[in-house]
Amino acid sequence: MAKYLLLKHYRGAPAPVNDVRMDQWTPEEISAHMQYMQDFADRLEKTGEFVDGQALAPEGTWVRYDGEGRPPVTDGPFAETKDLIAGWMVIDVDSYERAVELAGELSAAPGAGGKPIHEWLELRPFYGSAPTITE
């Protein structure tokens, strides 16, 4: 088994095929999209491949240490930051091929006009623990 992170981006991913902002969809199209995402997660729970999924708010803050005895510096959000993560799903699957298959299904979630968004999702393998037997 191997764990993979499916990353969804607010920005930073290549443009999807069906690229229409959600507030320009119809309410029914939004509902269909939400239902598709929920069904996908439910199905993965049933197959025993779902680990975790969370959505992130679009605005955050950059923080860094500013030296002994000083409060941390906060800044941003920065408009020029290219990459903005919208959420993730962690899956635990048997193979890379299965991970790709699932990411493809998730990317087919319906959008404007009820057509698949073809959204680009980033698939990142976890570093697992070192195997007991390596030879």
Binding site: D23, I30, A57
Partner: protein, 381 residues
């Protein structure tokens, strides 16, 4: 096996152990062990006196642990003080436990966790699942909380207001898992109301019952939010509403108004209206005025602006809104709604989209995005 009974006995059993001289942290562990034992043993061999059984077993667990500690730390005197087993004393220190678990030295999340375990009788695992954190994290949070209050004297009166804030948090910020935290908060508030005669405790209980009564109507099966005006009122729990209103009326009659009673009064006016159109918005505005006097909270003023719009028209609502800081949470959502009521759909659609961007949770974000989409779709046709 009556889990409800078992959990309702938890605080008084724990209080008895503490009164007998056990320190709170060790007594709390012993009571949890006794609960586990009860779940195991009772189905085949139910006790005649459930509370007496729990006290006896918990005390034995406490002594076992104390002996183990004594072997290590040579604290023999405590063990020699074992009282004769007998009927549980009549005095109920449940209230003291509520105070201890909501002690001002605790952070809100610690107070919530400790209250659910020591007063509510939930296991660490159940609490962890409810708040979506690993069990080890929740265990650490609880043991740190116990250390924080370890030097607090048990017989000192606490502040009811801090207890109410903790119970309100449990009710309002409960997540998921197999424990219904809203129902649990109601149970704990009901138990508190039985232990202390206080109009604000009654006010909070009424507020919870009135909100809980609408729960089935508040979301669709797919989790989408349904605004109050669009809810199917036939799905409201009338029994819960009747009880909430009766408790509230008794509390208000005592003429010691507080913020929970005022909030409950607003919830009661909503619950009382057969249709959204028949809501008594004028009275609701008056209650918001009371709440503003009691709390001076900008969030209350924001909600008041909506009520003003319903009572006196959207322009009056927008005027009330104009006095408030635009950075308030949900300000854009309220502005969007009021502009829509005022017929300015372009501004409303833009503000709904802005509000969705700032929404504090996914359900609200989806709801607000759908509102923007609805107006945008209407404008295209």
């Amino acid at each position: 096996m009556n889990e409800a009974l078992l959990r309702s006995l938890t605080p008084s059993v724990l209080a008895i152990l503490v009164r007998r001289g056990a320190d709170f942290a060790a007594a709390e562990d012993a009571v949890q062990d006794a609960l586990v034992e009860a779940v195991r043993v009772w189905p085949a061999d139910p006790p005649r006196d459930a509370k007496g059984w729990l006290v006896t077993v918990a005390w034995r667990k406490f002594l076992d642990q104390a002996r183990a500690d004594t072997a290590r730390r040579r604290r023999e005197d405590l063990v020699d003080e074992e009282p004769a087993p007998g009927p549980a004393p009549a005095v109920d220190d449940t209230l003291q436990l509520y105070f201890l678990c909501a002690h001002p030295a605790l952070t809100p999340s610690s107070a919530v966790a400790l209250t659910l375990r020591a007063v509510g009788g939930l296991t660490t695992r159940q609490i962890a699942q409810a708040y979506l954190v690993p069990e080890a994290t929740m265990a650490q949070r609880i043991s740190r909380a116990k250390r924080t209050v370890s030097d607090v004297r048990f017989d000192q009166p606490g502040d009811v207001a801090t207890v109410l804030r903790v119970l309100y948090l449990v009710f309002n910020e409960g997540y998921s898992g197999d424990v219904d935290l809203a129902a649990e908060a109601i149970r704990l508030t009901r138990q508190l109301a039985a232990a202390i005669d206080h109009p604000e405790v009654a006010g909070l209980l009424a507020l919870m019952l009135l909100h809980h009564a609408r729960r089935a109507a508040r979301t669709t099966p797919d989790g989408s939010l349904v605004p109050l005006a669009e809810q199917d009122r036939a799905r409201w729990d009338t029994e819960s509403i009747t009880e909430g209103i009766a408790i509230l009326q008794a509390a208000l009659a005592r003429d010691r108004l507080g913020e929970f009673q005022a909030q409950a009064a607003i919830a009661a006016l909503h619950a009382d209206a057969p249709t959204a159109g028949e809501t008594d918005w004028v009275q609701i505005v008056e209650w918001y005025d009371e709440l503003t006097r009691l709390t001076d909270s900008p969030i209350v003023r924001l909600n008041r602006a909506v009520a003003v719009a319903e009572a006196d028209g959207p322009r009056a609502g927008l005027a009330a809104l104009a006095e408030l800081d635009a950075s308030l949470p949900r300000h854009a959502a309220v502005a969007a709604y009021l502009h829509e009521r005022d017929g300015d759909l372009t501004t409303a659609a833009r503000l709904y989209a802005e509000a969705a961007h700032k929404a504090p949770n996914l359900a609200e974000r989806n709801h607000l995005t759908r509102q923007a989409a609805r107006l945008n779709a209407d404008r295209r046709h």
